[in-house]
Symmetry: C2
Subunit: 916 residues, 2 copies
């Protein structure tokens, strides 16, 4: 005869942990715990095959199954010393589904099975708590009615609410035992009316009906749909787990609690948790009574305490990970209800991993896989104190663009931010930021914008600076000139103005009114260093560089372990106050002579910047990109000029002075505005583009204005000479942006090479090595990468732009529909956050293979924002890149993600192996 039912409990089990196919995940886990000697409330599992038989057999099960069930029940009653349906001291049961793969919340559960008119009275007497007993009973009728007979929840709710209203109660907890007795009678009537039979008083009948209901839920629409989504076979079926219920509220020798084998906040190896005497599990969570720290359990019942410590230590040893457990003490007897690997904060994850290696519990590879790279963010940025945050009004949720908690007073312009930052911390709030705002962003503790996504200017720059940032916060309407903003929250419209305190959480996108308390992390702790060292061993030769534009960021990058600079955006240096006038002069002229003159003024400044980067990166490569953005980014905005010009004829002196401050680089005085503004607008109109992203930028600038590339090349190589002569090792890599084919690279390479040879030759440094390469950020460049690689010494994938062009998606505009796209499952992830492997990834793979086919020596990396995203780092590793480059504050994350990718290479996907 086949075995359909497997018992467990009393320190043993018929099944074991390997039998997930027949016992399901939950059943196998219970068997495993019992075999490990953990005191689990006893029970039995009806195997998954029965579920299939049930459906194949017109929703009936063979007689042998029922026979095996009654036999297992007999055993269970003996083990628990209680009998199902015993009016004096009833055994109560839970009936739960449990398939091979977890399908959380998709199928049914019935609790408190065994209650009827008589046993409820027995439970009431036994616990001395009639309110509890009748509340259990009415809940059971409702759950059973709904699950086993399809009685709609609302009928029960209506009856309950009617009585509550009649009694004028506000809370469910105001219901007395007598009220609940009335409800029980009502519920039985409702059951009868809709189920068309009396509520079954026979506990064994209850059991068989519940078992069938659990099987039926395998084909509930939501469960079918979930299986289809997750590609789980319909033929697996679900097991059915029947288990004795235990109660921590059976008097003063009973208790209930939760705990961790280590501190989930810090990772420290301390016994951590809390408990309540004479209480149910939900009381601990509900917060009505204050639980006691678990250390006090010792005073209440030393035996139980010692047993619990002993069991949980063994569990940790057995599962080789920190355990999160629930327990109940019923009349002096300890029962473990659940144990699982515990969720933990980033710092705890790192500490637990490192400690467990020291303790010999896990090896280094396991330790490295135990920490989700994103968790490291918490070690690198301040975080909010959760309690403190709860007391504030939440204004809105935007897009989490740069992690960390920031508190400050609102500033509406970059100028204000700089000024106000002298006196107090500042949050810069803008509709969007532009390169003009760099100084304000630099002065601010946090940045908040109304538009833009994870790759918007604000997001990219903030991450580079390590400044917390929330973008795309569409609920906020900003009046920048009025220095005021309004926010529609769920229940009211809030106005916020300059100087108001706000708190923003760059890790969640939360924006709060008021000052929350923050906690500072310690990124330089020895345990963190030890962990990263372990990770780096697995990472091997795969490099991690940082995107940094100025020496300060380069130094930060080195501190975080960056092995070079993967992207220096030269234009970020163009916005400094002493440079902008020269940049503007260069742009606004229409002849080469004046442009060359303006460039000559910029040259020494650029040279100084580059020298600073080379010094900071002594011995590591520095990739410098030539000018990239469209020129109109450096001049006043077209529409602002149009409006000012329209207003000028009727403007009063104050308005004119305001205007003058905007155009101070162009107009000497108020009077001159009349002639300057139209000229300026005319030139700005010439520079105007319908789609600047696809316009006159990148190498297209260097090709039409070769003198710009010449100046930049000269600045780079003069800086090389300067630093090399100090005895430092300089490894410059000059990167040409936005090429579409080899012809553009050839053009620019020729210019750079000529200057390099000239400058190095003159300095007697002919042997100084340097590379000239290109960004791959336009599909055409990727598609023709075999030809490009004949001229390029390196490729660096600019995945921001490559994603924009490959998907035809503007990173500045897509937030208008991206949420809907994510809801409708058109985007699996934000494509600017995680590389779209199917489309963009395919193109990257193609380009890597084409490039290496004609130039096997080609160095290949990525410098788009994806370089700091763990899943994307894994992808870059998989397609065979040499390195990733990301913002300095994400360097540790990338190092860890790369290590995990290396480990996963032989063991499947890194993501699947992570615990958190």
């Amino acid at each position: 005869m086949s075995k359909y039912v497997y018992s467990f409990g009393g320190g043993t089990a018929e099944g074991d942990g390997t039998m997930k196919d027949s016992l399901g995940g939950k059943g196998a886990g219970l068997a495993s715990m019992c075999r490990a000697g953990v005191p689990v409330p006893g029970g039995f599992t009806i195997i998954t095959d029965v579920c299939n038989v049930f459906f194949d057999n017109d929703k009936k099960v063979p007689k042998e199954v029922d026979e095996q069930i009654w036999k297992a029940l007999d055993q269970l009653e003996a083990l628990m010393g209680k009998k199902l349906g015993d009016a004096a001291d009833p055994l109560l049961l839970s009936v739960r589904s449990g398939a091979k793969f977890s399908m959380p919340g998709m199928m049914n559960t019935i609790l408190n099975l065994g209650l009827n008119d008589k046993t409820t009275k027995g439970l009431s007497d036994k616990t001395g708590n009639p309110r509890f007993a009748y509340d259990c009973y009415r809940r059971f009728i409702q759950m059973f009615g709904e699950v086993a007979f399809g009685v709609e929840m609302e009928h029960f709710d209506h009856a309950f609410d009617t009585l509550k209203a009649k009694k004028k109660y506000k809370l469910d907890t105001e219901m007395t035992a007598d009220d609940l007795k009335v409800i029980v009678e009502e519920f039985k009537k409702i059951f009868k009316k809709h189920a068309k039979r009396d509520f079954p008083q026979d506990a064994r009948e209850q059991l068989l009906l519940s078992r069938n209901a659990v099987f039926m839920s395998w084909w509930a629409p939501k469960a079918s749909y979930y299986r289809k989504m997750e590609k789980i076979s319909d033929r697996l079926g679900t097991a059915c787990n029947i288990q004795a219920m235990v109660f921590g509220n059976m008097g003063d020798t009973s208790a209930t609690g939760v705990g961790f084998t280590r501190d989930p906040g810090s990772g420290e190896k301390v016994f951590y948790g809390e408990f309540l005497v004479n209480a149910q599990g939900e009381d601990v969570v509900a917060g009505i009574r204050t639980p006691s720290p678990i250390s006090e359990l010792k005073d209440w019942n030393a035996d139980v305490y010692n047993q619990l410590r002993d069991i949980t230590s063994k569990l940790e040893l057995s599962y080789k990970d920190m355990q999160d457990f629930e327990f109940t003490v019923q009349e002096g007897v300890l029962w473990m209800l659940q144990t699982r690997n515990g969720k933990r904060t980033g710092p705890a994850a790192v500490r637990v991993a490192v400690d467990m290696v020291t303790e010999g519990l896990i090896d280094e590879k396991t330790a490295v896989m135990r920490v989700a790279p994103a968790q490291l963010d918490q070690l690198l940025h301040p975080v909010f104190d959760t309690a403190s945050l709860k007391s504030l009004t939440k204004l809105a949720t935007g897009i989490d663009a740069s992690p960390g908690a920031a508190v400050g007073r609102l500033a509406f312009t970059s100028e204000d931010a700089v000024e106000m930052s002298a006196k107090s911390p500042v949050i810069l709030i803008r509709k969007e930021t532009t390169p003009d705002d760099i100084h304000g962003m630099d002065a601010a503790k946090g940045i908040l914008t109304a538009v833009g996504g994870k790759s918007s200017h604000a997001a990219v720059v903030a991450r580079g600076m390590g400044v917390p940032c929330v973008v795309g916060c569409g609920a906020i309407s900003i009046n920048e000139r009025g220095k005021v903003a309004t926010v529609k929250t769920a229940d009211k419209t809030v106005t916020i103005k300059e100087g108001d305190w706000v708190s923003i959480d760059g890790a969640t996108g939360g924006v709060y009114l008021g000052q929350a308390a923050t906690k500072d992390p310690d990124p330089n702790s020895p345990v963190f260093a030890k962990f990263m060292k372990m990770a780096d061993v697995f990472r091997g030769k795969f490099g991690v560089r940082a995107n940094a534009d100025i020496p300060r960021d380069a130094k930060a990058a080195r501190a975080f372990g960056a092995e070079g600079i993967g992207l220096c955006r030269t234009e970020h240096m163009f916005f400094a106050e002493d440079r902008l006038p020269h940049v503007q002069a260069m742009i606004l002229t229409d002849n080469v002579k004046d442009r060359t003159k303006a460039l000559a003024k910029l040259l020494p400044m650029q040279r100084k910047d580059f020298a600073g980067l080379f010094e900071a990166m002594n011995g590591f490569p520095v990739v410098i990109r030539t000018l990239d953005p469209p020129l109109h980014e450096f001049v006043p905005k077209r529409e602002e000029l149009m409006v000012d010009l329209a207003k000028l004829p009727t403007a009063d002196i104050k308005t004119k002075k305001e205007m003058l401050s905007r155009y101070k680089n162009f107009a000497p005085d108020v009077k001159s505005l009349k002639t300057v503004l139209p000229q300026l607008l005319a030139r700005v109109e010439q520079l105007h583009e319908f789609n600047p992203m696809l316009g006159h930028r990148g190498c297209r600038l260097g090709i039409t204005y070769p003198e710009i590339t010449e100046m930049q090349a000269r600045a780079i190589f003069e800086a090389v000479v300067q630093v090399a002569k100090k005895g430092k090792t300089v490894i410059p890599e000059v990167m040409i942006p936005l090429i579409g084919g080899v012809e553009e690279l050839e053009n620019q390479k020729k210019i750079v090479k000529a200057i390099a040879e000239e400058v190095l030759g003159k300095a007697g440094l002919k042997k100084q090595k340097y590379m000239i390469g290109t960004m791959i950020e336009i599909p055409r460049a990727a598609l023709t990468a075999d030809r490009v690689a004949t001229e390029a010494e390196f490729f660096s994938f600019g995945t921001n732009d490559l994603t924009q062009t490959t998907m035809g998606l503007s990173r500045d505009d897509y937030t208008k529909f991206s949420k809907e796209y994510e809801e409708k499952k058109i985007f699996k992830n934000d494509p600017f956050g995680v590389i779209d492997r199917e489309g963009v990834g395919k193109l990257i793979k193609l380009a890597v293979d084409l490039g290496r086919s004609t130039n096997p020596e080609l160095e290949i990396g990525i410098c788009g924002e994806h370089g700091g995203d763990p899943s994307s780092v894994e992808f870059c590793y998989q397609v065979g890149m040499d390195y990733v480059s990301c913002s300095p504050y994400r360097v540790p994350i990338a190092r860890l993600a790369a290590a995990q990718a290396a480990i996963a290479k032989s063991e499947g996907s890194a993501e699947a192996n992570r615990t958190a």
Copy 2:
């Protein structure tokens, strides 16, 4: 002994036409003509091997070569009855290079060799024209000095100009024979000074030096560079052709002329040409004397005339193509100087091809290959009368965007264009056009814009309408509000204003001030129909459809032979005056209810449009694209609103009324502007995008506003029902634009399908067939085409957008640097005119292959503007598409290009086989 020198002349030749390797192209041609009995001035060819020997042998040639040369010269002297260096009647020679492949203008030529102090006098006496003789001599000294001794041209020019200035002559022709004698003496001095030897008086020495100079020019920098570009081997070497010179100015028995075997303008089979008695070839071209029609040659010398007719007829028979020939009669003897396949106009090309088939001269395949598809344009559009055009001031040259000649008065706004067109033809001049301008473009005879390229809105729409159009005319600064424009020409600034007459040539990009005369073509001539019928036989199943949005265009498309509509842009119907308010209401509302209400008003209008298309295309497929452009195209411009809002507080009543006319769909009266404008601006700001090309458009609209797709699907299928019930055959294909992956198509397909089933079901037309497919216009869609094809029943490549995204190039902005890119050879062609095969083409090929891999039944076409470009049509044929679709007026061009592609498939590239 090897043979190095091959003689020709006197009705025979040692070489023949097959010996291009050794005789070079020119030498082989001369041999071939001689063998055909054509009276060619005699001469000899020194073979290409000698050139290699010359360079291998320190720039010397073996003695045998010289010996063979002198022998050949003896023969030549006998043949021509003159001797080299004979003071009384000198033989003069030309010395020309001639490699296997034509390298036009890359190598050297020396004419009039044999002149010296004595022979010049002889020539002078013989011709009775000392001015001619001394002019020949001074030219020879100069040419020989420059080519053989590297004496710089400027030294000779300086001496010539000095004398000219001294004599106060304006023209070179004012120089007298005596002046030229002075010049000859001067030139000899210059020669001596720079060549460091006397000018050689010995004609044989002149010959050897000239031969060496011709060989030397094989390695001239421009020739080397040309070979590198054209991938011609350096080892081929050049032959050297030495030929007797003949003169048509040796008195009244001499003459010179040019002609064609058929009329190159009309193709008519008439002997066509002109001649001058006692003249040189250049006199015919220079236009100082008026030549006589070639028919009069008969009266002058009947023998010569008959001989010429006879020879040229034979030449046409031999070359099987219309010949363009040059001849000279020297002292009563006819010499043919050149014959080649003649260039011809489009109408002539068609007529000659058709006639030659009728005459049995060529087969149909050859006839089809003889006409360049682009030549058909001249048969489909009016052209300017060239003489008439010459009398006008040329204002500027823009980009030739839609062919045809147009003459009209300038209108600066679409409203003005409509109004003015009632009284006179109109040219609409705009900075750029937008969909708002459709009615103005429709009313205009021609369109002229200052910005944009071949794929700009103006260009695309104009081609669709068949209206001549010039775009990107940057030299014109337009003040639209002032209704005036200024143009900087080479020498002055011209102001043009409303009502001024201009003429624009859409085939050349020329813009002229004034009224030029135009000639109308006859596209319905029997000869054209016959030609297209021949072409269609070769085209086979490969289809040609048209892009058409309204029934009128659909009818035109049918008349041009379109086999269906490949693209109907539904949004073009949205701009009609009766619809725009509903479209705007739909866009400006923030709730589904109002949007649905506005859409309900549009439904019957769209249904009517579609029904019209289906009727016109009875039995042919109609591809209808759902809404594509960003919504802000339908509402007032943001910056215009900002300016108006800024002006409003201080505006006078006239300005306010002007504003009201702009916002009449939103504001009922002047007073309401104060409240309406800020609201309108707020919504327009929400719709504003930084890169609209990559923004919220295409299927992204239908996904976020499913009710728009629903309305359009309903209009389509209700129209299907309406037309099908009339007994017509309707073949609807619904096309979803701008998808990036299969998920978007799934979403929209579901909506369309549900409506289709409902509407067709209700009408009892369940068997009515229809297809749902998608545009491939985003790289990601191409990269994932295998998955897309599982849902798509057809693909249509939108190569405009696919080029924009694949190349990262905005078609609205790229003209700022495209000219520079073409000059620097970064763009081989305008990528919006000709498919970029290397990049975009690779992606198309990939998508075709991926798509067919999962869906072999997939119908594949192209509906981008490239569908009407011959090279692109060839590409589409090669990658295996089923059809191309283009603007109606390009349908014949596409039909011919497709036929040529089909022919070329087994015979190499179509382009290489074309004559014109």
